[in-house]
Amino acid sequence: MMQTTWTALMSWESWGLSRHWPLLCLPLALLPLCLRGFVAFAHPAVQGLPEDMLSIWMARLWRWAAALLLAALCLALAGPYLHTQHIEKLGRGAHVMIVLDRSASMNDPFAKKAGADPRASDARISKMVAARDVLKSMVKQGHEDLMGMVTFSTSPILAAPLGSDRGFVQAALDATEAGGMGFTAVARGLGMALDYFSDQPVTGARAIVLVSDGGAHLDGKTQDMLRAMFMRQQASLYWIYLRSENGASLKQTPGQEESVDAYPEYALHEYFQTLHVPYHVYEAENPQTVAAAIQDIARLKNKPTRYMEPVSRVDLSGYFYLMACLACLVLCVIDRLELKQWPLSSNN
């Protein structure tokens, strides 16, 4: 850490100034060095006094302290900073990647619970709106977890990297209001999310939260690849299944004569059970099931892990203010030692 800071200090490119005009004041720092003269005292012959080495050195110290004070203040005003630096952070809690389906099918109405009043104003909200509500409540809770989000339709798009920045995940969730489009490429979305774990050592619970209506078919090769990835990253899978208005429930096994292929979500459910990693499915029919899913995820724990996070700029002006303060302290001490009045000036 220190080393990177120092190499950054050395290279000219990583510097920056917030303002440039205070540099014009820098010549002020020459004033105390150039000005000559003394405070006049009511003494007939100051020149006659013996030279005092201590006083001479004090005067020199005073000059340099005053010069340093003005120079440091001008530099502090200019606001020097270092570009793109990394700071160390401590992360606890689980690493959670949200994988949100953004395909066109998510615009379809969401199946409400059987007992719900169909005439209620929110009776026909789209699955997308339902998913967003679920995720927003999840992002608000569990403040120790690191979270990230991948959205996918035909292709996966990274919306928020794995990190502690909840506001960013919220902003990415808000952006999904534009509506869905394209197909449901579940495998690619999961693949991108799993990719996020590959950079880091396994320090504890990793969870993939898939929010989808699951209308996708995976071929054999993709299934094997995804299975291998899940096992390598040791991530558990939580599927919050958003059932379409006329869609099948995962709890009902298709009949003997019915082909599983007719129910892609059921095929997906069966496949996920063969992943050899912990797998949980939640049918998001009512807020209670969703709350249960969120609680299960919140229970996941992790060893504290240190990780580096980039920051846009490290402000250095604080050091210059500190330097100015120290110089000022020296000036104040010398000021107290100064002879303000000739002691012999009393009536004699």
């Binding site: 920056g16 002020l28 004033l31 105390p32 150039c34 000005l35 000559r36 003269g37 003394f38 405070v39 006049a40 009511a42 007939p44 005053a66 004070l69 003005l70 203040l73 001008c74 502090a76 005003l77 606001g79 570009h83 793109t84 959205t151 035909t154 292709s155 996966p156 798009i157 990274l158 919306a159 928020a160 990297p161 990190g163 920045d165 506001g167 960013f168 902003a171 990415a172 808000d174 952006a175 534009a178 489009m181 394209g182 996070e309 980039p310 920051v311 846009s312 700029r313 002006s317 604080g318 203010y321 500190l322 100015a324 303060c325 000022c328 302290l329 000036l331 104040c332 000021d335 303000k340």
Partner: protein
């Protein structure tokens, strides 16, 4: 004059300088107090000059063309666009807001709503770094549609949101200009930039494999063609006999639009046309480091209340106070004499370097 009279005169003159001494002490101690306060790092909410940007990155395959040179290496347009954006968000003043979008096919897709740039810097930076051509949900590149859709979304993202589209302007597949949409909005309503990426000389577009290695290049044979759907301008038999094939111009031999459609260069003409229609400024990017200056340009800023560092507000009066302290320290011994001596010294040291006609006659 006796010694005692002399003595009295001196004391009188010193008494006259007493208020001066008092002011000198005040300068130092008030300055010290202000400096001490800066260590507490006071902050206050003040209107700040900020920049709101909606950055839209073209992630179509033509952006994979490696026609930038950096340190002897070829770098793709997308890489340069990402570098430029990362440098830009690092230099935007705190309080600025940034939204990200991707362009491919006919749409600009907003992937992140506006977020404050300093507190969300890490996430923004990583998201930009991970932008990838594989995120494209379709392979077409209808740049006019993309710019218009981004322009439509921009006002919804914030009142003073500016739009910056980083694209090479490459249209693929080649489209019939007659079927291109017209801009429906008001030109200049949304301010911002169209940033031209790439070199004007066309280069082949690479096909990348899983590991981003070049697996081949798009050939002319593979370019999708289009028909003109009976938009012939003349219906003259003579013209047709002489080789006119308006009706199927896209398919016909020797069509200008198709001959180079598998190559991609910076289509400045296309972007400039879009720029004049939409009121966005056009600028070609030759180096990533040019972008921050464009993004913090004149006329693009907004003012917003934000937490502001109050230390400069303390430091400026402190500097003034210390200067008063300094000047009063030397005021007794003829400041003006000191100053004029200083000027003479400086002039003396500069004089040998001046051309002879500037020298003062002695």
């Amino acid at each position: 004059m006796s010694v005692s009279e002399h003595w009295r005169a001196l004391r009188q003159s010193l008494n006259a300088s007493q208020p001066r001494q008092r002011w000198r002490a005040r300068g130092l101690w008030w300055g010290a107090l202000l400096l001490g306060l800066t260590l507490l790092h006071p902050q206050a909410s003040l209107p700040n000059r900020v920049y709101d940007w909606f950055f839209v990155v073209d992630i179509t395959q033509s952006m994979n063309v490696q026609d930038y040179q950096q340190g002897g290496k070829s770098v793709s347009r997308l890489q340069v666009a990402k570098q430029a954006l990362r440098q830009t968000i690092a230099r935007l003043p705190c309080g600025s807001r940034v939204a990200l979008g991707l362009f491919t096919e006919r749409n600009s897709l907003n992937i992140v709503r506006p977020v404050e740039v300093c507190s969300h810097y890490a996430a923004l930076d990583q998201t930009i770094a991970r932008l990838d051509w594989r995120m494209a949900w379709a392979a077409d590149s209808f740049i006019a549609h993309g710019v218009y859709s981004a322009l439509e979304q921009t006002p919804g993202l914030g009142k003073e949101m500016r739009l910056m589209v980083l694209t090479d302007g490459h249209q693929a597949p080649p489209a019939n200009p007659k079927y291109m949409p017209a801009f429906a909005g008001k030109a200049g309503e949304v301010k911002g930039y169209l940033i031209g990426m790439g070199q004007p000389t066309p280069s082949p577009i690479p096909k990348l494999d899983e590991k981003d290695a070049v697996a081949g290049y798009w050939e002319q044979e593979e370019v999708q063609r289009f028909g003109n759907f009976g938009m012939a301008e003349t219906l003259s038999v003579l013209a047709m006999e002489q080789g006119q094939h308006d009706r199927n111009a896209g398919h016909g031999a020797g069509s200008d639009l198709l001959s180079n459609a598998h190559l991609s260069g910076l289509d400045a003409a296309n972007l400039q046309r879009l720029s004049s229609q939409t009121g966005l400024d056009y600028a070609a990017l030759t180096q990533p480091s040019e972008l921050p200056a464009l993004a913090t340009g004149m006329g693009l800023s907004a003012y917003r209340w934000a937490d502001t560092d109050m230390r400069p507000w303390l430091a400026v009066p402190a500097i003034v106070l210390f200067c008063i302290y300094l000047i009063l320290t030397f005021a007794d011994s003829g400041l003006w004499m000191t100053a004029s001596r200083l000027v003479r010294q400086v002039c003396g040291s500069v004089k040998p370097f001046l051309p002879s006609r500037f020298r003062l006659k002695e």
